[in-house]
């Protein structure tokens, strides 16, 4: 029996996911955009666009540019704000079976607290706290690069809601494991990593940065080796689950992250390139387990041999 339908479910604390394939914030819209491409009942979870207390216009265009095996984005966290999100966007995705995770970002500890409180009264499954986005001038960077601040945000969000709290870490630091340990101490149920690497591109013809914001976040297959290394480093240092993110495109990529110690993964840029990716990865992961005679995805998690 086991080999016919291998066990795909994983748990993040008390929270059970039907499988380890989630989508990454900012690359899956508010979910519904993908209804024609993905069975939205089939995913482990959908992490929706980052939400702030008030609506944000985001950065001026151009906001995206292609790089070698990657892309830079400087969306600047454009979003509808928590009110409109709860009233208009959330009801449209709540009906799907995939877990709903809401990614939040604040300019201050108070904003994070308020966002967490507001979401606590909704039927979402978990909160992901973005302390890592490199695009906004205030807040974003500081919280994720300083372990005391990271600890503090975690503690406040933890106290403000009873949902599972996932802290999303930035790779633009000297020692990501130290930040992970700080948020674990602050009460995080899980960490997710990595957010984008800070990068830049210049248009040699106009001599101007290709992004209006000058710098932006690098994502896609180009960053996968860095992401995988960080997941491995963090998984050895914390005892809460790690969610791996960065350049995941194929089922082999998923397996690599699981072997490195991730309990689940998020698919980001690949959704933009091939909108069917996340749904296909759920099926392909099941097939992979079957054809390798594994009864459960747990046989892969952290199973790298050094």
């Amino acid at each position: 029996m086991a080999l016919d339908s291998p066990e795909l479910s994983v748990s993040i604390g008390n929270w059970q996911l039907q499988n380890p394939i989630m989508t990454a914030s900012g690359t899956f819209g508010y979910g519904e955009e993908f209804a024609d491409f993905v069975d939205l009942d089939s995913l482990g979870g959908m992490v929706l666009k980052g939400i702030s207390l008030f609506p944000k216009n985001g950065n001026p265009p151009p906001r995206v540019v292609e790089t070698s095996c990657g892309m830079l984005n400087a969306i600047g966290l454009e979003n509808v704000g928590i009110d409109k999100f709860i009233n208009e966007k959330l009801p449209r995705v709540s009906r799907y079976k995939s877990a709903i995770v809401v990614n939040i970002l604040g300019d201050s500890i108070d904003e994070y607290r308020e966002l967490a409180q507001r979401l606590n009264d909704t039927d979402i499954d978990a909160i992901e706290v973005n302390i890592s986005c490199p695009n906004v001038k205030k807040g974003g960077v500081a919280f994720g690069t300083d372990h005391k601040m990271a600890y503090e945000v975690t503690r406040v969000v933890r106290q403000s809601c009873s949902k599972p709290v996932i802290m999303k870490l930035t790779p633009n630091v000297t020692d990501i494991a130290a930040i992970a340990q700080a948020v674990e101490e602050g009460g995080a149920d899980a960490v997710s990593l990595i957010n984008t690497l800070l990068g830049m591109a210049i248009d040699v013809k106009t001599r101007r940065p290709r992004l209006a914001n000058t710098v932006g976040g690098l994502s896609g297959p180009a960053i996968k080796p860095v992401a995988l290394r960080m997941v491995w480093q963090v998984a050895r240092k914390v005892s809460i689950p790690v969610i791996g993110i960065g350049g995941i495109t194929t089922v082999e990529d998923v397996v690599e992250f699981l072997l490195a110690g991730a309990s689940a993964v998020q698919v980001g840029t690949a959704n933009l390139v091939n909108p069917q990716t996340s749904g296909q990865l759920v099926e392909e992961l099941a097939d992979y387990l079957k054809s390798n005679n594994m009864a459960s995805v747990h046989e892969l998690i952290g199973a790298m041999e050094v």
């Binding site: 995206v64 984005n73 969306i75 454009e78 933009l272 909108p275």
Partner: protein
């Protein structure tokens, strides 16, 4: 959502025909699902590289230029590596497509329809002309095309098959038609809607003239796009109501916009 209701698709499409001359290419693709739901003004996102290569990573957007019998046609210019790779593909090979995407032209019966295209902006107009003819069999259509020279005056043949249509051309070098800019071809009195696609300055000029002369004008915009389907919000542009409502998104709110939503 049941499969039957799907309106957008990611498919592997067989190439029926692929032709290039002077870096301008036409590509005809077997894509029945997309052809069935597409409306004129919409576009598709095309994977131009090898499926096992991540470079180039992003898809490239192209207007649907023709749509008939389960096929869609593109007309594109080779301007960089994505279009270069695409131009090497030959009949029988497969190309992965996502579409149809975006909001197409808004169509109502008119005294006359003015289809104004410049350069590669001519690409979406054949599908628009064919749609107009089918929906409003008796409405006259005037096509006004501009390009740098004879070679870049694309799609001319495509309009010939359509009834009750006039085509006028302008070229920068005078090699075909009027020696000058396409907005000059607009009549003093505009009896209907203007649909315009081309370089930014040309669209601005056509939109301004249309407003002056009391005609509605729809324009087709381009921006850098990562996804083309509303997921990344990378394709932002400012509309006239930016201060109240924030950015518009070309792939979702457009690519076709009413000109007065963009320029006043």
């Amino acid at each position: 959502m049941s499969k039957a209701q799907k309106i957008q698709f990611q498919i592997d499409a067989h190439i029926v025909d692929s032709q290039c001359a002077n870096d301008i290419c036409t590509l005809v693709l077997q894509a029945p699902e997309i052809a069935r739901t597409a409306v004129s003004g919409q576009f598709i996102m095309v994977a131009t590289g090898d499926e096992k290569s991540h470079d180039p990573l992003l898809r490239r957007p192209f207007s649907i230029s023709q749509c008939a019998n389960g096929t869609i046609g593109l007309v594109y210019k080779v301007v960089g590596r994505g279009t270069k790779l695409l131009s090497k593909m030959t009949a029988g090979q497969k190309v992965n497509l996502v579409g149809p995407l975006g909001k197409g032209f808004k169509l109502h019966s008119q005294k006359k329809h003015y289809l104004v295209g410049g350069g590669m902006g001519i690409a979406p107009l054949p599908f628009l002309a064919a749609t107009l003819r089918e929906k409003f069999p008796d409405d006259p259509i005037a096509v006004l095309l501009g390009a740098r020279n004879r070679d870049e005056l694309i799609c001319l043949d495509d309009f010939e098959e359509i009834d009750n249509i006039t085509v006028a051309c302008a070229t920068d070098d005078g090699s075909v038609g009027y020696h000058g800019l396409v907005p000059d071809l607009l009549p003093g009195k505009i009896n209907g809607t203007v649909y315009c696609c081309g370089p930014w300055p040309m669209m601005k000029a056509v939109a301004a003239i249309s407003r002056q002369r009391g005609a509605a004008c729809q324009v087709s915009l381009e921006t850098m796009m990562a996804c083309g389907m509303g997921a990344c919000v990378g394709c932002a542009i400012q509309g006239v109501d930016f201060i109240e409502n924030g950015y518009l998104h070309v792939c979702k709110d457009g690519p076709i916009f009413e000109a007065e939503k963009i320029w006043l």
